[in-house]
């Protein structure tokens, strides 16, 4: 039994007590930060649910699959914006993930050491370009290029194929889902590539070196050692990019064509949730209109929720198949 006086005087015990208090305080501090994140999202989602109340109560479930968008007749439906958001984001991911992956491999395994910082900084630079510049560049420089060279090529070469040909038949405007998808891809590449590069470089050298020592090629090391080790963080990076793509406004609205019509072809214009909100919010002149726009914002949260859940389930299954 420790003598109380000695215990209080004993520097080691005092230190231990102070450390435990500091530990408790630190834990409380970081926990409140985490709870704050929870509150922030709940607050934003709640404010949008409240704002969208009128639209949901007026249209009910029909809001989800209605193709209407008539501000004068006050008929609104979310199908076209949801479709546009999903398609452009999917396209963006299809282009961005492999390219980011390639960039990350290049920067961590292939490039000579002196090249790494400059090229990494260059890629990071893409992230710093304001999104409206992507929009303007897309509209004035890239869309004409697409309309003059890429669209006609797609039309003539792939437009006549059965089934998927419908994706590539369309007007040679240069505007539309495909252009928007590519511009979005360029926007999210720096985010995904930065995270991938960062996590690839944290793989402990012994792991890689043992694989090399056994005679693995660079590709085999990357695919079988680096990637599994960093799988969670890599998915995190992809989500970062996906998040940007789903919510991107300015770049998309300049090149998507902003048409409230549903079309199968990627060459046709369309509309996205974020672009619709940004375009029409300040001019919405009836409370139902405003409410429908806010309801769209809420639906974007829902779409994100669904996409992320599916991604997580897929990841969990992959991990289970590998025996984790």
């Amino acid at each position: 039994m420790l003598d109380v006086k000695t215990a209080v005087m004993d520097p080691l015990v005092r230190l231990d007590r102070r450390d435990r208090r500091a530990d408790k305080f630190f834990r409380l501090a970081v926990q409140s930060c985490a709870i704050f994140v929870l509150i922030a999202l709940l607050g934003a989602a709640l404010s949008m649910l409240i704002g969208g109340r009128e639209a949901f109560s007026t249209f009910g479930w029909k809001f989800l699959w209605s193709k209407d968008w008539d501000p004068v007749q006050k008929q609104f439906g979310a199908l076209i914006p949801i479709y546009g958001t999903l398609v452009t984001s999917l396209l963006a991911m299809i282009f961005a993930v492999p390219i980011s992956f390639g960039i990350a491999i290049f920067l961590t395994e292939i490039a000579p050491r002196w090249m790494r910082l400059p090229i990494a900084s260059a890629i990071d630079l893409l992230a710093g370009i304001p999104s409206i510049i992507y929009g303007m560049w897309g509209l004035f420089i890239f869309a004409p290029f697409m309309g003059a060279h890429v669209d006609p090529w797609l039309n003539s070469h792939w437009g006549s194929l059965p089934v998927i040909g419908a994706l590539f038949r369309g007007p040679n405007m240069g505007l539309g889902m495909l252009t928007a998808g590519v511009v979005l891809a360029v926007m999210v590449i720096p985010f995904i590539a930065a995270v991938m590069r960062e996590v690839f470089s944290t793989v402990p050298s012994p792991l890689k070196e043992s694989a090399y020592a056994l005679g693995s090629t660079t590709w085999e090391v990357v695919w079988n050692v680096v990637l599994p080790y960093t799988r969670s963080a890599v998915t995190g990076g992809i989500f970062l990019g996906l998040g940007r793509a789903l919510g991107e406004t300015m770049a998309v609205t300049f090149v998507l064509g902003n048409t409230h019509r549903l079309a199968a072809s990627l060459l046709e214009p369309g509309n996205s949730i974020a672009a619709t909100i940004a375009n029409e919010f300040t001019e919405a002149d009836s409370s139902l209109y405003l409410s429908s726009l806010i309801a769209l914002g809420f639906l974007l949260f829902v779409v994100t929720f669904i996409v992320l859940t599916i991604a997580r389930l897929m990841l969990r299954r992959m991990a289970r198949l590998e025996g984790n």
């Binding site: 902003n258 509309n271 375009n279 300040t282 001019e283 209109y289």
Partner: protein, 339 residues
């Protein structure tokens, strides 16, 4: 290593706070229509140089302007679409016009230059309804016998964002075409039967310039700056009018501004032999009994300066300033309505 960075950042922040205490406050804030942004900022800059009072006007859209003045987060709002007198009295707002402009149709057909093509209101409505789909349609050809019109599809370009320009355009089409009125109607944002949407006047200009055989509508300043092929339109008196500051002015002068209270006038399809059929006015909204009387007084002083002395600057920017008789009526309205 962690601490030094945080300390450095903190120090920077403190420096910024010191900065803050040495700053000047902006006197008046206004927000609203994009259309008037260039001319209001020019007037504000001149006014600040002259008197030192700072008027900060930002373009967030007519709807935004109405919403912000109703929420009293700004001292005045600006809207391309006038509010009805009932709505104004319900909100306790006063309204008056401040500048005139016009919307012009623009086309991109190789070989057709600015001012050469002739159109009528019903023809434009039919094109935007999607009823007339080709450039060599008989109606267009009969109006323009000396132009070479190709056998190509018309790509309609409209606005993707809500806008007062769209409101005035669709209001005009509703006046001249019953089918348009019933099928589509008027508004800052409408359900376009056909075409692609460009963001802002700039977006529409860019699309029209890029897409051959396209047909859109923009404000005159954009048509001139981007060297686009605008068209003549037949007005209600039956004459084909070229869009210009003069024809906008004639349209504004022909309107009877005292007919409705609070200057509620939409001057599309104006009468008068030389009036441009798609002229438009922008309105300023202010509280009749404002919370901050000093700010409103300062804002009114600014508008007095702008309406009485700002004609030349307005002209260089392709706007039409109000006729002096109207200015007098507006100033009387201020004394009576705004306290």
């Amino acid at each position: 290593m962690l601490v030094p960075i945080k300390v450095r950042v903190l120090a920077l922040c403190l420096a910024a706070m010191v900065f803050v205490s040495m700053s000047l406050a902006t006197d008046i804030t206004g927000a609203g229509a994009t259309f008037v942004y260039p001319v209001l900022s020019k007037w504000a800059a001149d006014y600040a140089a002259k008197t030192g009072d700072k008027i900060n006007y930002q373009s967030i859209g007519s709807g935004g302007g109405i919403a912000q003045i109703k929420a009293a987060t700004v001292d005045f709002g600006a809207s391309d679409k006038p509010l009805k007198p009932e709505e104004l009295s319900a909100a306790g707002l006063a309204q008056f016009p401040v500048v005139i402009g016009g919307v012009v149709p623009v086309v991109h057909v190789p070989g057709i230059e600015a001012g050469k093509m002739k159109l009528t209101g019903t023809l434009i409505a039919d094109i935007f309804l999607g009823k007339i789909t080709k450039w060599n349609d008989s109606t267009i050809v009969s109006l323009n016998p000396d132009l070479k019109l190709p056998d190509k599809l018309i790509t309609v370009v409209h606005r993707s964002d809500g806008s007062g320009t769209t409101f005035n355009w669709s209001n005009y089409l509703s006046k001249v075409s019953d089918e348009w009125k019933t099928k589509v109607g008027e508004g800052t944002s409408i359900n376009w039967p056909t075409g692609v949407g460009g963001k802002g006047n700039e977006g529409v200009s860019a699309y029209v310039n890029q897409l051959e055989y396209s047909f859109g509508y923009v404000e005159l300043a954009y048509a001139i700056q981007n060297k686009m092929a605008y068209c003549q339109v037949k007005n209600s008196a039956g004459n084909f009018i070229m869009p210009s500051l003069e024809s906008f002015q004639k349209a504004a002068a022909s309107a009877d501004w005292t007919k409705e209270p609070d200057f509620y006038q939409i001057i599309t399809n104006a009468p008068g032999a030389d009036s441009w059929p798609i002229a438009a006015s922008t309105f300023v909204l202010m509280y009749k009994t404002p919370k901050n009387a000093a700010s409103t007084k300062a804002a009114l002083a600014f508008f007095k300066y702008a309406l009485e002395n700002g004609q030349d600057q307005a002209k260089t920017l392709q706007y039409v300033s109000l006729p002096s008789s109207l200015v007098k009526e507006i100033e009387d309205y201020w004394t009576k309505q705004i306290h």
